[in-house]
Amino acid sequence: MTPAIELSGIHKSFGSVHAVRGVSLRIDKGAITGIVGENGAGKSTLMSILYGLYRADSGEIRVDGRTVAMESPHDAIAQGIGMVHQHFMLVDTFTVLENLVLGAEGGPLLAGGLAAARAELARLAREYGLSVNPDARVADLSVGEQQRVEILKVLFRGARILILDEPSAVLTPQETDQLFRILATLKERGVTVVLITHKLREIMAATDHVYVMRQGEIVADRPTIDTSPEELAELMVGRKVLLQLDKSASRPGEVLLRAEHLTLIDDRGVRLLDDVGLELRAGEIVGIAGVSGNGQSELLQILSGIRAPTSGRLTVCGRAIDASQPCDPAEMRNLRLAHVPEDRLRQGMVAAFQAAETAILGYQEKPPYCRHYLLDGPAVGAHCATLMERFDVRPRAPGLRSSSFSGGNQQKLVLAREMAREPRVLLVGQPTRGVDIGAIEFIHREVVKSRDQGCAVLVVSVELEEILSLADRILVMFAGRIMGEVPAGRADERTLGLMMAGAQQPAPSEAEGL
């Protein structure tokens, strides 16, 4: 059978960077093919070439056995190739139907196009089991449903080959499973799917065949049933990787952070946090699991002093904080509370600053970076160089713009900055979001190391696997409340998943019996 897509000898350079080096691969018709690799391995560049966003320097693209020139996404769409991007390209205030016809309105008057689209949408929903209310506003849909709209949009344009770029980045485990069911249905109906990801679980669960990319090259291809996550991880990174974190039992000490009845109500009267209480002891890692958007971000903001709670009390290293005695992030730092924010690009660093400048963010008024009211340039540079050495940030260039580093290296730099001053309390939001496997291993080890040195660590993550492997105790958040606490030893993905969806914690006696 002719493959749906065949690439041969694709090369692509950006200036001096050789991003894709002689890649050849074939994607079978009616199958799900995975392309896996670390951030920066060239996966997205390769797919952008296939989708016509970039032009290859050399090489050939064949669709259904015919050589085609991909000059722009229009050519790709004409060939029946559609792409679902990592970040959704939807207009929030439009309905599903209006989003669907965007760019394919079918005439100067919308009514005709909309009616035709409604009929087509009904057909697609029947054929592929993708049901969405056509008149719902996109803003009112859940993230999983929004992704479904993205897929429908691509199918609506007549795509027979679907490229998904890191589709699960924003989904819960349950939503991800749902997505895979959709992909399986699509496959049954003869649609070809290409799945780009760096998550091994997804490759194993969803694909028929997998290509592994490293540094711009295909280093392996395997039928999925013949490989294992361990082998894929090793191929991606180029060395043995420990997927299971190896850590000793925790020895909790004194309580360093205590939150009591924290409640946060925003301007519109929405209860973002509802009577949240937790304790954080020296020498333990507490994990907060939950679907993104259930109050974890707000909790981190309050604990780090960025936002004040509407009511409730907080005690950090002996200092009482409430509405009458607020505490800003600078003072929190003085209490030796460090915070690795969830979104490093938006909060944790300044993209336009040099790495050395980012490495003192929040500590700019402290010696040795600041002496006699002046910043000490050499000291700041030397500090950054030390951090880079200790946390293996690459390239080791304190003078380089922060935005020029890869996600993993940015995260290591932020983590290094926050850990450098040996905090007593460490808050970490999404420690490994957008970070590749090699760096995940390193970051997890560093977090455990600081726990072993007596630091009280709070980890907030939407990656259940990460919480399970890092935390000593797990709290689950849903709709601004803490649904319950599970000791790490007794937690499993199913129970936590149910709690994340709002189910009450099983009764203690029952949990005891497990």
Partner: protein
């Protein structure tokens, strides 16, 4: 689509791009001058000679450049904080008022060495105060600073007319001017100072404000890039969320940035009133506040770039005046058109030649040239 856009190296960004912008502006000027029937090279020669042909013209060029430096720095400081201060005009006006009031009140009692610093401080305080109101409105009430600073220009202008006509007008005078400052309220002119040390130069409006301008450039540079507050200010400008995360109070930082900006703009009053007019007059800011926006844009908001841009604007102001004087078909308005074109090309159309330059650089770049971009950048997943 096919050619990837690589960022330009810093030297091209700072040096080549602005020169290209100016060159484009002059080509356009050339076409217009041609249309009205003037020999371009003759006009250009007059312009250059008028700006830097004699010690007198150099003096005037530097005097104008001093004003442009103050307002350019004012816009730049606010700009680094992510604030667009369009109120330089009003802040210069009120800064001048502060300077003048201090002198009118004290020049009969204080010696020059005390009067001059006091008047400079008064100019800074008044300029800062005039900027502080929009800053406060932005920080606490959320009123957009672009709107409020523009409105404050009009308020300043109306206030000054009222004060000059009704309050500060010299007794018996027909024109709205204050009384003349006494000797201790006058800033020495550069030709007097140079003559005192035996260097004769032609008299011009250039006064010791230029020293203040140089000090301000250095101070702004040190403040922005070598103090923790400048660091926090730039953090706010680039990424307010990161600034909050770092513990910076954005309200206070907005106040600080705008007050500094207003103080710098206020120094135009020092140059004009204490340096040249030696009394309070109307309309002395004469568009310097607005031109400061172009100066800051062209100078890439860096003190060194601002000095260069201010010199260019000063030269155009002075050379343009000569040009209008020598060639009758080139009117004052024509000179304004020329300045406007330069502002247009180095401001609004600043990025126009960038793709051409990138294309040229890619053409000449050797394959092994050191990439500024590390390997990880190639993929943005």
């Amino acid at each position: 689509m096919s050619a990837p856009r690589r960022p330009l190296p810093a030297w091209a960004e700072i040096a080549v791009l602005p020169v290209l912008n100016i060159a484009l502006a002059f080509v356009t000027v050339g076409i217009i001058v041609r249309i009205i029937g003037v020999d371009l090279f003759h006009a250009l020669r007059l312009l250059v000679v008028g700006a830097i042909g004699s010690s007198e013209s150099i003096g005037y060029t530097l005097y104008y450049a001093t004003n442009f430096t103050f307002t350019g720095l004012a816009v730049a400081v606010a700009f680094h904080a992510g604030l667009f201060n369009i109120g330089g005009e009003g802040q210069a006006y009120i800064g001048g008022l502060g300077c003048g009031l201090a002198i009118l009140a004290l020049d009969r009692f204080l010696p020059a060495w005390l009067m001059i610093p006091l008047a400079i401080v008064a100019a800074a305080l008044f300029g800062a105060a005039w900027a502080a109101v929009p800053a406060w409105l932005q920080a606490w009430r959320g009123s957009h600073i672009v709107i409020t600073t523009i409105m404050f220009n009009f308020v300043a202008s109306a206030l000054m007319v009222y004060l000059m006509v009704n309050v500060l007008i010299a007794p018996g005078s027909m024109t709205p001017q204050s009384r003349n400052f006494t000797a201790s309220g006058k800033l020495p002119s550069v030709h007097d100072v140079l003559a005192a040390v035996g260097i004769p130069v032609a008299p011009s409006a250039l006064n010791l404000s230029i020293v203040l301008a140089v000090v301000c450039c250095i101070a702004v540079w040190v403040f922005l890039w070598h103090t923790p507050w400048g660091y926090a200010l730039r953090t706010m400008g680039h990424n307010p969320e990161a600034a909050i995360y770092a513990g910076t109070n954005l309200k206070h930082m907005t106040m600080l940035a705008m007050c500094l900006s207003g103080a710098l703009a206020g120094f135009v009053g020092v140059n004009e009133l204490m340096g040249v007019h030696h009394r309070i007059v109307l309309d002395f800011p004469a568009g310097y506040g607005f031109a400061g926006i172009a100066v800051a844009l062209m100078g890439r908001s860096h003190p060194l770039g601002i000095v260069l841009a201010a010199l260019l604007f000063g030269a155009l102001q002075q050379g343009g005046a000569e040009l209008a004087f020598e060639i009758p078909t080139i009117t004052r308005e024509m000179v304004v058109v020329i300045q406007g074109l330069i502002i247009l090309f180095s401001g609004a159309l600043m990025h126009l030649p960038r793709p051409w330059l990138q294309w040229l650089m890619a053409l000449f770049a050797s394959p092994r040239s050191r990439g500024e971009v590390p390997a990880q950048r190639a993929e943005g997943s």
